[in-house]
């Protein structure tokens, strides 16, 4: 999986690429318009993560070039909140997803994996950990080959965990992932708690060990002991 990250802030660029390398992605980086432009001409990437505000040009131009040359590449636009118009324009140009700063790594990874599934790069849309399997095409969840019924939020939370196994996911990340701006942080923690409680109940009803571990009041972690 080859990813190109285009971001002008070097510290942020480094943080993102080292996290993605940790996820076993092949990462290349570019900090300005010209090198990014050159790279998309010379190489093929599966996914390009591009910031809109770049020295030397607009990230939108990169998307335009990409779509002109190779429509297979998935594009995730990263930008500042103040450019709602950019979002619309970016998506119209053919970007697949849009994420606003400041985001969390778990969120970016979840978006990349969702994009990968949509593009069907790996040829499957099923994700399995331990006894649990998620079929993302039909949004169904199986535990020990038996289907369990989840609400929309429960499904989204579980999928979020499955995109980031073994990683600590903070309550803040879950709240932002599920509700975006539609809920205040402090309020949503109660709801997350009750969603996770229900999720655990539905999964452990099938005599499966609880896959979601609480981490000291910070958040949760998908932790399924491998047999």
């Amino acid at each position: 999986m080859k990813v190109l990250i285009v971001e002008d802030n070097l510290t942020l660029l480094d943080s993102i690429s080292s996290s993605l390398i940790g996820e076993k992605f092949l990462c290349e980086t570019s900090a300005d318009f010209d090198t990014a432009h050159e790279k998309i001409f010379l190489y093929e990437y599966d996914i390009v993560i591009v910031d809109i505000n770049l020295p030397g040009g607009s990230g939108l131009e990169i998307i335009r070039e990409l779509k002109k040359n190779n429509s297979k590449t998935g594009v995730i636009v990263v930008s500042a909140r103040d450019s709602l118009d950019n979002k619309v324009e970016g998506l119209e140009l053919g970007a697949d997803d849009y994420i606003t700063k400041p985001f969390e790594m778990v969120e970016l990874i979840a978006r990349i994996k969702a994009l990968m599934r949509r593009r069907n790069f790996a040829g499957n849309s099923n994700i399995s950990y331990g006894d649990i399997t998620i079929i993302t095409d039909s949004r169904e969840v199986f535990v020990k080959n038996e289907k369990i019924e989840l609400t929309k939020s429960e499904y989204n939370i579980l999928l979020f965990f499955f995109s980031n196994p073994q990683r600590v996911i903070t309550k803040e990340s879950i709240a932002e992932h599920i509700w975006g701006d539609n809920m205040d942080l402090a309020d949503s923690f109660d709801f997350i708690y009750s969603h996770i409680k229900n999720l655990r109940k539905k999964i452990t009803a099938h005599h499966t060990p609880d896959p979601i571990k609480a981490v000291y009041g910070i958040g949760y972690k998908l932790d399924i002991p491998l047999k």
Binding site: N9, K101, V168, T170, V215, I218
Partner: protein, 412 residues
């Protein structure tokens, strides 16, 4: 009141004392002249009679003698005013009399000459008529003058006014035309300077907001990404996790506050101005499902009476306003509470059960009004800002545990 109307009124009000004083002056003037003339006339007649008598020892055939009193003597001629009853009109009429004496055949005779005078009321009437005629002339003249002056002299002023009323802060500063009048030129240049300053400040604020938010966002992203890494490295170190949690929480709150503050200032700067005619009913119906889970978890009963409501408003702002109001009603609700939504063409009312609130509900519209749960409380401030932009009236009332927010769309 319009400038020209005001000018007319002031001018004509000032003319009223002129009319009054002028009438009184004319009255006395006419009276003085009438006396002067009458006395002169009587004196002339007296001299004629005296001369005729000394020549011929008799009175002329034609004379105006009213009365001859025998045995009475005046050393000097005497003028007297008297009133005589006019039988036909049954009215006292003023007369002027002249008494003078002659000696006829050794006897003294006093001769009385009498002349009719115009009455005071007649003089006054005359004076008034004169003044009215004059005033009518002056008025006509002034009317034409004021009209001409205001059309010609005030023209640059009206031009400036027209330009100003069309001016929008997001547009470039308009150019004011030169005038021959110094005052208007100075007015135009002052306005021009002010507008330039306002536009400059507006641009600066906008830039500051954009720069500040861009810088904040990038560095907040760095903080959050790296804290996440630390979090995964120290998963089993309870002591470090406590500190990391503090950082994560603060960074998350900062992100939220930053987004909301930016939104507030952008609304205030009228950056959302793509007004379209849209159905608020649709937005309310679409927004409600976003909170369905929260409503179910808390077993909140939702009642709604939604009529058709079309507003001319920016779609994004309408959505933010409705979302924030519904969010407020859901989040600050109680277990097994209720929400009652009424939407009509004229207003939107959202009533919900909540905790008993003691303070002034108006404070909830302030930025950073902190609630019990430590909310940043920018949601309602954003709603207030949107209402301010569109001149909607918003009210928040609390009666015991019943919270009620009403928005009146009055600008239609």
């Amino acid at each position: 009141m319009r400038l020209i109307k005001r000018t007319y009124l002031t001018t004509f009000t000032l003319l009223i004392p002129v009319l009054l004083i002028g009438s009184i002056f004319s009255f006395y003037m006419i009276k003085y002249i009438v006396y002067e003339e009458t006395d002169e006339h009587l004196t002339y007649e007296m001299e004629r009679l005296v001369e005729f008598h000394s020549n011929y020892g008799d009175l002329p055939e034609y004379h105006k003698v009213t009365e001859i009193i025998e045995g009475l003597r005046f050393d000097e001629p005497v003028f007297k005013d008297t009133l005589i009853l006019e039988l036909r009109d049954n009215e006292m009429i003023p007369h002027r009399e002249l008494y003078f004496s002659i000696n006829h055949e050794g006897k003294d005779f006093t001769i009385v000459l009498r002349q009719l005078l115009p009455g005071n009321d007649d003089i006054f009437e005359g004076a008034l008529l004169m003044m009215l005629g004059l005033l009518l002339l002056i008025t006509l003249f002034l009317f034409i003058m004021v009209n001409l002056i205001s059309r010609k002299l005030w023209n640059p002023f009206y031009k400036t006014l027209g330009i100003l009323s069309k001016y929008k802060i997001t547009e470039p500063v308009p150019v004011f035309s030169k005038s021959k009048i110094d005052e208007f030129n100075s007015l135009n240049s002052t306005i021009d300077e002010l507008l330039k300053k306002i536009t400059y400040d507006f641009k600066r604020t906008k830039e500051f907001n954009e720069n500040a938010s861009h810088e904040l966002q990038t560095h907040l992203a760095i903080i959050r990404l790296n804290t996440e890494k630390l979090l995964n490295n120290f998963q089993d170190d309870g002591n470090s996790l406590v500190h990391l949690q503090t950082i994560i929480n603060a960074a998350a709150k900062l992100s939220v506050a930053q987004k909301s503050l930016l939104l507030l200032s952008k609304i205030g700067n009228l950056e959302y101005n793509k007004n379209t005619n849209l159905s608020l009913s649709e937005i309310v119906n679409n927004s409600l499902p976003l909170f369905q889970e929260a409503i179910e978890i808390r077993s909140i009963k939702v009642k709604k009476a939604i009529e058709n409501c079309n507003l001319n408003i920016d779609a994004g702002l309408a959505e933010i306003m409705v979302n924030n109001l519904l969010k407020n009603a859901v989040m600050h609700n109680t277990q097994d509470g209720y929400i009652f939504i009424i939407l009509s063409q004229k207003h939107l009312m959202i009533e919900n059960s909540g905790i008993v609130f003691q303070d002034n509900p108006k404070a909830l519209f302030e930025r950073f009004a902190t609630g019990k749960t430590g909310n940043l409380g920018l949601g309602l401030a954003v709603v207030k800002q949107i209402c301010d932009v569109y001149n909607y009236k918003i009210s928040y009332t609390v009666d015991g545990n019943v919270h009620k927010i009403q928005v009146f769309f009055t600008n239609r």
